[in-house]
């Protein structure tokens, strides 16, 4: 009996994963090999057509644009997140949690509602345009919404904490003695940053980038709402297949492709993190 002890302790987790993860995923995988019914249902005939169809240049373009948008969002988050995380990690201990809380508080509100708030701010008769016109800084409203820029702002805003938190964790762990040692050996502040700080916080950069990049590919409502359905990203494609086009098999196939790409990226991360085992002390 005793030797089954460890098995019993993991059984709730195993059950949870089986019911809420493996079964739905298995269903998606199964459906991706089926044929679309005439009226949007599923016909249980095996086919590879759904995957073949994805190689259409049209979808290739969507995937490429999605990756591009995700890469831009990640860069934007990194550009603003790194200095922020650095300042928080190097501020007096008593302020650190407060500063991190400031990042997290907005996320107590539903992200859909916060996206609508952005619309209120950015639209033609929105808060920002009205204020700028009243101040006489602009004569006509600026087109701040319903373009790629707006989508980027929305995505970067929503995913910012996922970049900051891993970065904070790795910068905070960085022993200041390394920075002093670099300075002592004649490195000017930017040299210290390039040769010591950056490489030693690389695991945080990679983790944060992955946590931003991957969800960006799947977030469909922000491009929908802030891009004004002009931009079609892979998340929107999947959503449309399931809801408007009623083509579940093709939607499933695209989901599986996206998931495979994501796993590939995580594998690359795990490999770099594994090689750099002393990167984070």
């Amino acid at each position: 009996m005793k030797k089954f002890g460890p098995v019993w302790t993991i059984s709730p987790v195993a059950l949870w994963i089986a019911v809420f993860f493996s079964v739905p995923l298995g269903l998606v995988l199964f459906v991706s090999f089926m044929t679309r019914g005439l009226y949007g249902g599923i016909e249980y005939t095996f086919t590879l057509d759904n995957y073949v169809r994805f190689f259409d240049p049209l979808y290739g373009k969507i995937l490429w644009e999605s990756v591009l948008v995700a890469a831009c969002t990640t860069s934007l988050c990194l550009l603003f997140g790194y200095p922020f995380a650095y300042i928080v990690a190097r501020s007096p201990r008593k302020y650190r949690n407060l500063l991190l809380l400031l990042i997290v508080i907005p996320f107590w509100t539903n992200s859909l509602i916060r996206t609508y708030a952005w619309i209120v701010l950015l639209r033609t008769e929105g808060v920002l345009n009205t204020a700028l016109m009243k101040l006489g800084l602009i004569a006509e409203p600026l087109p701040m919404l319903y373009n790629d820029g707006a989508v980027l702002v929305g995505l970067a805003y929503t995913l910012f904490p996922f970049m900051v938190l891993p970065l904070y964790a790795s910068i905070e762990k960085l022993d200041p003695a390394y920075l002093e040692a670099a300075g002592d050996l004649g490195a000017k502040p930017w040299q210290t940053f390039m040769h010591v700080t950056l490489p030693l916080t690389a695991p945080g950069i990679v983790a944060g980038s992955l946590l931003v990049f991957v969800p960006t590919l799947g977030l469909f409502f922000i491009p929908d709402l802030m891009g004004g359905s002009k931009s079609m990203l892979i998340g929107n494609l999947i959503k449309n297949q399931f809801l408007s086009a009623r083509d579940w098999p093709f939607g499933s196939a695209v989901s599986i492709v996206l998931m495979a790409l994501t796993l590939l990226m995580i594998a690359v991360y795990a490999k770099t993190a594994g090689n750099d085992r002393d990167g984070v002390i």
């Binding site: 022993d175 003695a177 390394y178 002093e180 040692a181 670099a182 300075g183 002592d184 050996l185 004649g186 490195a187 000017k188 040299q191 040769h195 010591v196 490489p199 030693l200 750099d276 002393d278 990167g279 002390i281």
Partner: protein, 357 residues
């Protein structure tokens, strides 16, 4: 050119209103091995960090090689530090760690290689050039840290308790290696430690620090044989500290009244009649006899306990109410005495060290 490699003039460093270093002046000669010795919190590490440039003095001036250093950042100072934690860069191998300083100075690649290989040979780590710091033992890390600093040919090498993390045997060995290295290279070393034995072994001069000030600075034998204050006598080596009034003088001695005994001690110019005199006697100078001796003095007492310590044995003799004297004698030459027995302690009066504070 200044006669002194490093000078601190009336340096004060306060943290949140508390003075870690208080009006400290220090002159370090070129090629000297100077040790800052003191208990934790005495300001020795802060002093070192002020010289390295990690801290800026609140008041006072610091000179390195005659140049004023106030406001100069660490990277622009011609000194290098060996950190207590070594602070070897974990993402670089031994070679890259050592080459770091030369690369920052944009030295030619061939010259970097020559100097790194040369210093690796000096610290006998040629075979370890491609190892990462986490693949090295404590002693090897220590040597890499020293090589990484020395390869830059600094004017002054600062060492912050560099042997603190090593076990006793390795520490003794590294003490000798460091001392020989310093003699060979002729670089000025400023060494911080709380280990008095380490300080006595390695230093040309020792500055004993307490509460942010230098209590005494001198050669190891001066510090040991002529402590200027009770703190120094107590901190460096073991010491019997006696306190009493000077009640009589003759041509050779001052006589101190201690627990009802008249004890002759060397005369000093500052002594006044009925003024307080502090006396320190090293345990190895104290002798024990079972009967009064033909000696200028012998203090009666009762043998309290004996503590065996290998080659020597410590004997504690209680004198009067709550006072005691410790004697350290060769275990081979011990008198057969038992606890509770009445004994007499004495020493050569010239061996007693007198202090005014």
């Amino acid at each position: 050119m200044s006669a002194y490699k490093v000078q601190l003039r009336n340096v004060v460093k306060t943290f949140d209103g508390h003075a870690a270093v208080n009006d400290l002046s220090l002159h370090v000669k070129s090629g000297e091995f100077l040790t800052l010795l003191g208990p934790s919190g005495c300001g020795k590490t802060t002093t070192l960090r002020l010289i390295a440039g990690f801290e800026q003095p609140t008041k006072g001036e610091i000179f390195i090689d005659g140049k004023q250093m106030n406001g100069i950042p660490p990277y622009a100072r011609d000194v290098n530090t060996v950190f207590q934690s070594y602070a070897l860069f974990p993402h670089m191998n031994v070679y890259d760690n050592i080459a770091f300083g030369l690369r920052m100075k944009k030295m030619a690649g061939r010259e970097i290689k020559r100097r790194v290989l040369e210093i690796l040979e000096l610290v006998r780590l040629e075979a370890f050039a491609s190892r990462r710091p986490d693949q090295l033992s404590g002693g090897q890390k220590q040597r890499v840290a020293i090589a990484r600093a020395l390869v830059n040919n600094p004017q002054v090498l600062l060492l912050d308790e560099p042997l603190g993390a090593l076990d006793l045997k390795l520490r003794k060995q590294m003490q000798m290696e460091l001392k020989h290295l310093q003699e060979e290279l002729g670089i000025t070393f400023i060494y911080v430690t709380h280990d008095q034995e380490e300080a006595l072994t390695m230093s040309d001069r020792i500055a004993v620090m307490n509460a942010g000030v230098v209590e005494q600075i001198g050669t190891p034998d001066e510090i040991y044989d002529k402590p200027a204050t009770r703190f120094v006598a107590d901190f460096v080596g073991e010491s019997n500290l006696l306190e009493g009034l000077a009640v009589r003088f003759d041509s050779r001695y001052a006589y101190m009244n201690w627990c009802g005994n008249m004890i002759p001690v060397p005369r000093a110019a500052w002594m006044r009649l009925n003024g307080t005199v502090y006396v320190s006697v090293r345990p190895e100078r104290v002798k024990i006899a079972s009967s009064p001796q033909h000696h200028p003095f012998a203090i009666p007492g009762k043998l309290a306990e004996r503590v065996y310590a290998g080659a020597s044995t410590k004997t504690v003799v209680s004198i009067g109410e709550g006072q005691h004297v410790v004697a350290s004698e060769a275990t081979d030459a011990l008198l057969p005495l038992t606890p509770g027995q009445h004994v007499f302690v004495y020493w050569e009066p010239e061996k007693a060290m007198v202090m005014s504070a």
